[in-house]
Subunit: 324 residues, 4 copies
């Protein structure tokens, strides 16, 4: 369909998981990129049907021609990714790393953090980008205008209640992720403010110069995809126009949608967007803002944002090939 245009060869490391497959699908639909290789050690040698990407043949990471790729996405597991990011970079490829190995708050050593709407300029010139986690993307893009504009009450605790679909936990055979255990169920996990994504969010708050405390409580939803964050934010002063901070901050952004009411998962799934809504709380004495933010954890929260960053790194239109 896009036959005659020259396409850039792209590699995907760790392509058999949910984020990896999503990357393969996005690359297949992209007018300027094509899949050069896809690795998955446990499934090396097999072809697997990936909707929208056709039959994808997996090879071992060791066999991957890293140097042939203009850009490599690493969707390898946390801990296993860093070494491959370095190998791909050494072979001359640009790299977007979807693991948390190199994100802020880790010892990533100054690798640009690919929260695109915040760090677009750094991403554009980077050779390696650390792609944010799904919860941090949703939470921090949701709170960014308040933090940057100094609207949160000093030293306050922001309660972030987030709920995610099961693909956020990856394609691993865990008993507690079986259909029979998740359907008609709902539960919190990582309670007590101990989730591993917290580090990344706290580090970003610090970089932004904010002294807020985040209290983050994730929940597991009986859905495949999507994250909704419901955030309770103590304000320094009431806001007459609750949505004004987001309109000011995200005016020209193509992947940020301000909605007229609370966003729903179905408005964002399979799309590279975050939808945000905010409203003042009635019947409480302390001025308090409720902020709602929704994303697809596999798209804007992972593969989509990774491709958004890749587009910038490759000098392409940031929105090219991204579903929205």
């Amino acid at each position: 369909m896009h036959s005659s245009v020259h396409k850039l060869p792209i590699g995907v490391l760790g392509a058999s998981g949910y984020a990896g497959r999503e990357l393969c699908s996005l690359i297949a639909a992209h007018p300027r990129l094509e899949l050069a290789f896809a690795t998955a050690n446990a499934q090396a040698g097999k072809s697997i049907h990936v909707p929208f990407a056709g039959d994808v043949r997996f090879i071992e990471s060791e066999q991957a021609p890293l140097g042939d790729a203009a850009l490599v996405f690493s969707a390898l597991p946390h801990g296993a990714s860093k070494i491959w990011v370095e190998r791909a970079a050494a072979a001359g490829a640009k790299v977007v790393d979807l693991s948390n190995d190199l994100r802020i708050g880790s010892d990533g050593g100054g690798i640009p953090y690919g929260l695109t709407e915040l760090r677009r300029d750094q991403v554009r010139t980077a050779r390696i980008v650390a792609n944010p986690g799904c919860y941090p993307t949703t939470t921090m893009l949701g709170l960014l205008p308040l933090l940057e504009q100094g609207l949160v009450r000093g030293g306050a605790t922001i309660a972030v209640n987030a709920a995610s679909g099961v693909t956020g936990a990856g394609l691993t055979p865990r008993v507690d992720l079986l259909f029979g255990e998740v359907t008609e169920n709902f539960r919190a996990y990582g309670v007590g403010n101990t989730h591993r994504h917290l580090n990344e969010m706290r580090a970003l708050c610090a970089e932004l110069g904010s002294d807020v405390d985040l209290l983050f409580t994730p929940h597991l939803l009986p859905v495949a995809r999507g994250i909704l964050a419901t955030m309770t934010v103590p304000l320094a002063e009431p806001l007459a126009d609750a949505m004004a901070p987001w309109r000011r901050r995200y005016g020209g952004e193509r992947f940020v949608e301000l909605s007229a009411g609370p966003p729903e998962l179905r408005d964002v799934v399979r799309r590279n967007v975050i939808r945000i809504y905010a409203t003042m709380a009635a019947h409480v004495r302390a001025p308090t803002l409720l902020v709602f933010a929704a994303t697809d954890n596999l798209v804007k929260g992972a593969a989509g944002q990774a491709l958004q960053n890749a587009n910038l790194m490759l000098g392409l239109d940031e929105a090219l090939g991204l579903p929205c």
Copy 2:
């Protein structure tokens, strides 16, 4: 199976909805009660198969022999219930009203509020009881020990994020409750602290002498049954033993379970229990407690608690016939 025992005749007004059917099922399994009549004006004359209750034949409310019943449950819609509660009481029946017509915060005129674990003594001698809503049951039983023991920071805002299954919205043909609109979706509603259940919860806080503000945000889950409330509570001082307030308060309670970790919906569905867990939040400067409470909105949050109250009003063991 319980053949030779004398059974008390029980009426159900508004029996064709979710709570009404649940009442019919519970009555059918109860060793000392039997269904005398079930009304449903729109379905009058029809028999409908209700699992665990067999084929239930509905009559019109106007045809119901109110005076023949030892006790009548009203599961009629809000607004339509009050007049029937009065008629059943005038006919000599005891009444448990599941609507919000007579609850605290309404102009119910001093009708006992059937949050059983709080008002057991009043319920025992009452001729009419106003059965609490599903969200207030879950929230207020969850917070009760903190409020009674004065552990919340003075004037603080407690953020209550609750998520409920769709049966909470009743058996009404609304487009936004269709399977195709709810599956793989999740959304907040009644946002901005405006939900109609708030009144009931605020009135109860006031009766308990607490000056806290509740900030209540409900969400719609893609499940049939169950409510999970995740509550962020600013404390006056840190708690060394986060579960101690609940152990103290609910020691002998048969329908309150303290769990070793965050409760899940599947632990409570179809059971007349509330499961509660609490833990201090790490990494925040202000001492903050996270409280999780789960119920089945149709059982402990409606029909089960109604039967618990009815057992007391009829001089029976409070737990008789209740699944747990």
Copy 3:
């Protein structure tokens, strides 16, 4: 993204239902089409967010500038569509009618039946096309090679057991389609070979010169989208290569996929394809073939096939803008 190309104006009548919204989304993603108007009488004057199509503003059908459109899709209800198809055609637009008003087996009067893979040549030159139903598309494309190649045992009964997601029943507020009634449930409906789609399938069998009897039993699945048909076919003789009839028939087809095992709904949802698998039954004396066919009822079973037909009618590449 496809900015400079001239785009053809397309109208959608009855755009607020599931098929209508899917049409809006497909048109928005199409490189050569653009939405000229979308009608929905009950929602006229409102804008509704349709994922991938943005905010769609609905007008009344009476206000629709039918003559400005190169082609009009009618997704109006059965019975209400025919008159609008005629008005749009009279105004000079080509029309694809998604209702069953004009399909074979009705008194449509020779309107080409848009089962594209069977009637491509008629569609290409038609001014009006009757788009097949979702069940007939899945069933008949699945059986076509067997019928055309005379492989079914003469006079035999083919048992077609099909299961569909709830969007097949449309966006109508029926109690039996509520989430609480469909989740964790499964049931047959239209039993006894009485489903209204049967007429369409029987008429097509007759046109193909086949004397088979179809015994069609639909079921309602707790999923939003997708149809799986499991078909038991008595054969004249055993087939040594069970997939050969499909390979022969569908060699060059871009929207027919032959799979290596039984197709799953998730392989076809949101894609304009049918996936087919066939295998001989072991342990039975009469030679019997099992045929499995899966589609997305809203795409290949409705809006996608409608667009496939529209592409042909407009002289475009049949596959243009179709997700696969």
Copy 4:
């Protein structure tokens, strides 16, 4: 609640899986039985909350005091069960084996097959009973009246299309049973008439003297519990009263329900019943009956029927403690 009655001690081997947990719940609710021990080697030493059974403490099978139990249920995996059945029997306990190790069609050596409604008299006096599989229970109880009454066309093939919830596959961490893989999906498996349950059904047909061929195709439903079998039965002659064979056969049966229309999963889940409906097919020349049968795979299809058999073996009322 049932305090003063003497209760019989019951053991459960392999208690941590779905059927094992269901057994623990049923025993806890039973007025004359109590749990003596529950084994689960991988979880030995742990207590797990089982709804309706409370906290169940697991021990190793080797530690189980088999001889102290009046009856032992084995819910051990196929292949691993037989040796423990023999050990429990040797220790003096009666045994109901839920595995397929000893069922007809295996080399079980004449152990009574506990399809209760067919083999009640043998079960009553048995010391060991082989409990039927979930699919065979649903299929064979559904077809029994037709087979016994000689109504099926001689030598015909009965097409059995069955769909089951995921708990039928047990509590094993398989990737294809993850929530993310099953939600919004539907697929056939074991296609080509090769499912391992077929053997059991064919053996039973042979014992009944029937010469029919069964063509069995199972499907995986996105629900936790329940089986629906849709069966296409060629008849020797048309039936004027399609339900008559079932009324004749199952007149006094307490766990067989004949429904007025196609049975739904929600009518049978958590209940020890099979619901059956039959109707003649219109528009086909060969007289053909459609038979629909639904059960809960964990109750009537496993733990419930096992308890029904145990009641008989222990000289209790067959229905005691069984939800219906």
